[in-house]
């Protein structure tokens, strides 16, 4: 969505006391990221319009909370992001995502390349805090080249958007409501093997967590040498999502 909130023209705003220059029409998050500044996020991706669902990027804009990905940058804004209060809030949101699904990092092929895991480290998350939901989400291994493990889905809808807007295939959709909201596959059998998805699709590599994984490439890069093993998710060289 195009930010329209007073974002006419370029200018400068203050992020945690330091000036950030923005271009016309840019959101707070996009402009901060371009300037090499880190605002935690999961559902936002530079190639796609803002989604606003994960709420990790909620900052205080002139004292009022709002999602940095959906609010247009405007000259003179005072924005707080890297504060104890907001980071504690982000940690709770991460803990909510961890207990909602089934996340076992030690056995996950995405470990070290996972935006959820890396952000949790960055926010000093040491445990789940809340009671686990342990949902029953069978994996879908029907596709010859791609594994779907719904246990790790955080409902960022990046795969839905990539398949619809880039690949033109509409392989994924969101179904249900409330805590039962879940990702579904578009085919008569509801299984990925019956879709025209290929491993070369944008949707096949967009997942920030370990739901959509290419088969037969397990641990080709050893644990310890992966993207977020080398540098933290907050490092500007590390912010390009996969």
């Amino acid at each position: 969505m195009t930010p329209t909130d007073g974002s006419a023209g370029a200018g400068v705003y203050s992020l945690d006391g330091e000036d950030v220059a923005f271009r016309q029409g840019e959101s707070i998050l996009a402009s901060a990221r371009r300037a090499g500044r880190y605002i935690p996020h999961l559902c936002w991706h530079p190639e796609f319009p803002a989604h606003g669902s994960c709420r990790l990027c909620v900052v205080k804009v002139n004292g009022h909370p709002g999602a940095a990905c959906t609010i247009g940058a405007a000259h003179g804004l005072e924005i707080e992001s890297n504060t104890a209060e907001l980071n504690a809030q982000r940690k709770m949101l991460l803990q909510m995502l961890f207990v909602e699904g089934n996340h076992f990092c030690p056995s996950c092929e995405k470990s070290g390349n996972c935006l959820l895991q890396a952000t949790a480290y960055q926010m000093d998350m040491e445990g789940p805090h809340f009671e686990e939901f342990y949902p029953d989400r069978p994996v879908d291994a029907s596709h010859p080249d791609i594994l779907l493990d719904f246990n790790r889905c955080i409902l960022c809808e990046l795969c839905v958007r990539a398949s619809r807007d880039v690949d033109g295939k509409n392989v994924f959709a969101i179904a249900g409501h409330g805590i039962d909201t879940h990702l579904v596959v578009n085919s008569p059998s509801a299984r990925l093997g019956d879709t025209d998805m290929t491993v070369n699709d944008r949707a096949a590599t967009i997942c920030p967590v370990g739901v959509i994984l290419p088969k037969r490439r397990g641990f080709s890069v050893p644990i310890g040498e992966r993207r977020y093993d080398e540098k933290s998710v907050a490092d500007s060289s590390c912010q390009e999502a996969s």
């Binding site: 969505m1 329209t4 909130d5 803002a50 606003g52 669902s53 994960c54 709420r55 990790l56 909620v58 909370p65 999602a67 959906t70 809030q89 709770m92 949101l93 909510m96 995502l97 207990v99 909602e100 809340f130 009671e131 939901f133 955080i154 409902l155 509409n170 994924f172 959709a173 969101i174 179904a175 249900g176 409501h177 409330g178 805590i179 039962d180 909201t181 579904v184 596959v185 578009n186 085919s187 008569p188 509801a190």
Partner: protein
């Protein structure tokens, strides 16, 4: 009748002629709606879906209506094959259609019974014994709540508040028939009729009587309905002068937020767009609220008159009423009123002879989703999508229905436009307080002698309302529904006004016999049930609150659990995508702050307690091995 039944499936017993309501030819009425039952047993599913889709112009934006009507006229649920057919013809994917169907509580992608009975599960229904009646009906019919009986005959479940709180306990049958004032005798009769396979349309008509219960009328409920008078007054003033009159009245939105109606209309009027729309928010989902039901039942002319004046001011040619699915039984009477107004020259082309003034109104029936009361979610639903709130800005006044400037107003707000058009903005502004002008209708329910509608000028003392409705020994009043505010006895001197205690209209009364923890828990379940699931804090947070409240209710609570509830409240206030999540912990926060002993009665200890009960988990194993002493003894 549209049949989408798979071979051999039984027809639902009430899927026959829709009652009354002469229809505008070729207009609102769905094809086949007036056929005799059974006439289409042999027609193929495809041709029936075809006919309905043709009626809606194969427009994906009508998807929610298409699915609702398919389910109403065929099987009581939507088999995957039907969804596949709909998807193919609307150029949507099956997953998209499934995603939309599974969003709405009243659309069923899994089987429900031929008789689908939904008990209203507001706290006021529970206080009147709904849970015992539900259990009794399930016992008589040998069915478990939430499950379909083996023969497919019946299913019994709960639903969010049906807006019948002044005459509960209430239930809905097949989403079309509302029943009030239930008791054990009536439950027995219902069970017998279901066992005898008597169509619901042949059940005694007095069972479906829904009372208005207007206990106190003021300038709004007391305005005589004279169709066309207010439109004539507005037309003689002209659009700009009518807008000025509305701004002079200081009317503020009655849906709860209190945005200035005149300013909203002005923003919409001035926003560029190929078309402008007037939308009436009749998705009265806030538990305990039922004022709009009565306005829609008895004051529909006033509502449509107000919408027509709105159209004049903002320059709209089309209006939409988003009628909540729980009020499906109002559809035919509302359509009949629209037809009469067309015949009276009050809708359609050249209204009251003004060549440039064309406007008409359609009714969109919701499908059980509280979130669609949020105006941008409502617009998404009108466009046939999942009712997820949009990113705002842009706001609907600039970018609303179909991306065009749209004013979304509450039923009561649009009704109030009529007396303002007739008597002037200054007159309206002289009623109430400076910041909250005019009157407000309160839907009063719970522990009182005379529940129903009470209209008072803004600024009325809460204690006055309690005296008038015959409330005794009152412990607390929940004002504005679960997302509103809980008022305890020492605050009954406070006044109803945007600047003191704002309200969308619900006023639920709890006497001293009630456990306020039970009240808060019922509300917590409501928010979790109605969360759209889009954003993390609301989707997971509302479910976590339910878990914690369940832990307290089961006697495993400790002070730590209350701290966690406070944490969740704080998070959801600042981090959610829309107001549902932001207000979901309001009743929790208020009741913990004001009725803490009610919580502490449920605490096992003041220190940490696990939710896991080791003794309970081991009890089966102990029984098996003949050890009867709990662990550790």
């Amino acid at each position: 009748m549209i049949s989408v039944s798979s071979p051999g499936a039984e027809q639902r017993p009430d899927a026959e002629q829709r009652p009354g309501a002469e229809q505008r030819p070729g207009a609102d009425q769905e094809p086949g709606a007036d056929q005799e039952p059974g006439a289409d047993q042999n027609r193929s599913q495809k041709s029936d879906v075809d006919a309905l889709l043709a009626h809606y112009g194969r427009d994906p934006r009508s998807l929610v209506q298409i699915l609702r009507v398919l389910q109403e006229q065929g099987l009581p649920w939507l088999p995957r094959e039907t969804l596949r057919e709909v998807a193919a013809q609307l150029d949507l994917t099956l997953a998209q259609v499934e995603g939309i169907a599974s969003f709405y509580h009243f659309l069923h992608t899994r089987p429900v019974g031929q008789y689908h009975v939904l008990f209203s599960d507001n706290i006021t229904d529970r206080m009147l014994g709904s849970e015992a009646l539900l259990a009794e009906l399930c016992r008589l019919l040998a069915v478990r709540p939430g499950q379909v009986r083996g023969d497919g005959r019946v299913s019994v479940d709960r639903c969010s508040c049906t807006g019948l709180c002044d005459q509960g306990p209430a239930l809905l049958v097949n989403h079309r028939y509302g029943m009030t004032r239930l008791d054990a005798a009536r439950i027995g009769e219902i069970a017998a009729l279901i066992e005898a396979l008597v169509p619901v349309s042949e059940w005694p008509t007095e069972w479906f009587h829904i009372a208005d219960n207007i206990q106190r009328a003021d300038v709004l409920l007391g305005t005589p309905q004279q169709p066309g008078f207010a439109i004539a007054a507005a037309l003689s003033r002209g659009a700009e002068a009518q807008l000025a009159e509305l701004k002079r009245s200081n009317l503020r939105g009655r849906g709860g937020a209190g945005f200035a109606t005149g300013l909203k209309w002005e923003l919409c009027r001035n926003a560029p767009g190929a078309a402008h729309y007037v939308v009436c928010n009749a998705d009265e989902g806030e538990p305990g609220t039922f004022k709009d039901r009565v306005l829609l039942s008895r004051y529909a002319d006033m509502l449509f008159e107000g919408m027509t004046i709105a159209a004049l001011v903002v320059g709209a040619r089309r209006g939409l009423v988003y009628l909540r699915g729980e009020y499906r039984y109002l559809l035919e009477p509302l359509r009949a009123t629209l037809d009469r107004r067309r015949q009276q020259g009050l809708l359609g082309t050249a209204i009251q002879g003004h060549a440039e003034f064309d406007f008409d109104i359609d009714i969109h029936v919701g499908a059980g989703a509280y979130i669609c009361g949020e105006e941008s979610a409502l617009i998404e639903s009108l466009e046939g999508k999942r009712g997820t709130p949009r990113i705002r800005p842009p706001f609907p006044v600039e970018h609303g229905y179909l991306g065009q400037p749209t004013t979304v107003n509450n039923v009561e707000t649009l009704c109030a436009v009529v007396p303002i058009a007739l008597s002037g903005g200054a007159w309206w502004a002289s009623i109430g307080t400076a910041k909250s002008t005019g009157t407000k209708i309160h839907a009063v329910s719970g522990d009182c002698d005379r529940p129903g509608l009470y209209e008072y000028p803004f600024g009325t003392r809460i204690g006055r309302i309690l005296e008038d409705c015959g409330a005794h020994d009152t412990q607390a009043v929940q004002i504005g529904g679960p997302s509103g505010i809980c008022i305890s006895a020492f605050e009954f001197g406070r006044r109803i006004a945007f600047e003191d205690v704002p309200t969308a209209g619900a006023l639920m009364i709890f006497d001293r016999s009630r456990d306020m923890f039970d009240v808060a828990r019922n509300f917590a379940n409501f928010f979790a049930h109605e969360s759209c699931g889009f954003c993390t804090p609301c989707r997971v947070g509302t479910a976590l609150v339910v878990k914690r409240m369940g832990k307290l209710a089961a006697g495993h609570g400790s002070r730590h659990d209350i701290e966690v509830l406070f944490e969740l409240d704080k998070l959801m206030h600042g981090a959610t995508h829309c107001g549902l999540g932001a207000s979901a912990c309001n009743p929790l926060r208020d009741t913990i702050a004001k009725f803490r002993p009610a919580y502490e009665r449920h605490l096992q200890s003041l220190h940490f307690e696990p939710a896991f009960d080791l003794d309970a988990e081991l009890s089966a194993a102990r029984l098996a091995i003949g050890r009867d002493r709990p662990a550790g003894q």
